[in-house]
């Protein structure tokens, strides 16, 4: 029988709650999260468990951080780049965030982080495309303009992968502040 299974990550920045629920469903069937694997998760077959998963963003988390979770009944499952952390606990354990101000901060932190990565790609994409537009006005040699258009296309890709999560966090914060 297969012992290990890899499943896709549906996008933590967009569907955090849904993703955590999905992992809990797998755990009920005995497929327990072991770690992040590439763009997905690695699950290992074991005993069925009635557990919940929770995700936190904390750059440079230290011993004390994990000790707090341990003390509250949340076991550390895995981390990505010591920044994204997943914890699990028996269903019904007190949640990891218990008030709105700190929940807002969680997404503020991650939004800022994502924004820092997205900004240079945003600038380069805009600059490269502007050069392309100026070329239409005939002020730049065509070969350079084509090169810049290609570079603009290339820098659009990382911009999408960082800009979309950025907007998603922004949206989440908007909803949090309203609700």
């Amino acid at each position: 029988m297969k012992k290990v299974k890899y499943i896709a990550n549906g996008g933590l920045a967009f569907f955090e709650e849904k993703e955590m629920k999905k992992l809990a469903e797998y755990a009920k069937e005995g497929w327990v999260l072991e770690k992040f694997a590439g763009l997905g998760y690695k699950l290992r077959k074991g005993e069925p468990q009635d557990i919940e998963y929770a995700l936190d963003y904390q750059k440079g988390a230290d011993d004390e951080y994990f000790a707090f979770f341990e003390a509250a009944g949340w076991s550390h499952v895995c981390s990505a780049g010591n920044e994204i952390h997943i914890f699990s606990a028996p269903t019904g354990t007190k949640p990891i965030y218990t008030d709105k101000p700190t929940t807002v901060e969680k997404y503020e932190r991650e939004k800022k982080q994502m924004g820092k990565v997205a900004l240079p790609f945003f600038i380069s994409t805009v600059v490269f495309w502007l050069v392309g537009i100026f070329n239409d006005l005939g002020s730049v040699p065509e070969s350079i303009a084509i090169l810049f258009q290609v570079l603009g296309m290339i820098s659009l890709i990382p911009l999408i992968f960082t800009g979309m999560p950025y907007l998603s966090y922004q949206w989440k914060l908007l909803k949090l502040r309203k609700g």
Binding site: A54, D56, Q58, D62, D63, E64, Y65, F66, A67, F68, F69, A71, A72, W74, K94, P95, I96, Y97, T98, D99, P101, T102, T103, V104, E105, K106, E108, R177
Partner: protein, 113 residues
Amino acid sequence: MGRNDSLEMGELTDTAYYILLSLVDARHGYLIMQTIEEMTDQRFQIGPASMYTTIKKLLVAELIQLFDDDDPKRKTYIATEKGIELLKKEVKRRQEMVLHAEEVFKIRGERLI
């Protein structure tokens, strides 16, 4: 940081209020959680992520300080003088809020609870 940063407005969130209150004496993280739960008869609970975030904020605002970090997993903290002052101010503010409500209900002839 955020636009609803209550520390900068000189007000404490409920979480910060209880953490600061339990740090009148030096305590480590887990004991802070326990103290608050006992103090409030389990009515007020603080999750580990909220706890960590709030402690870091109180440290930056110099409302609490590190008391002992021999064991990095069990750092102990204690409220600073500035922290105690703000706590007192906050107690007074909340007391007044309760008083105002009591007055309103008294006039209406309604009993609280």
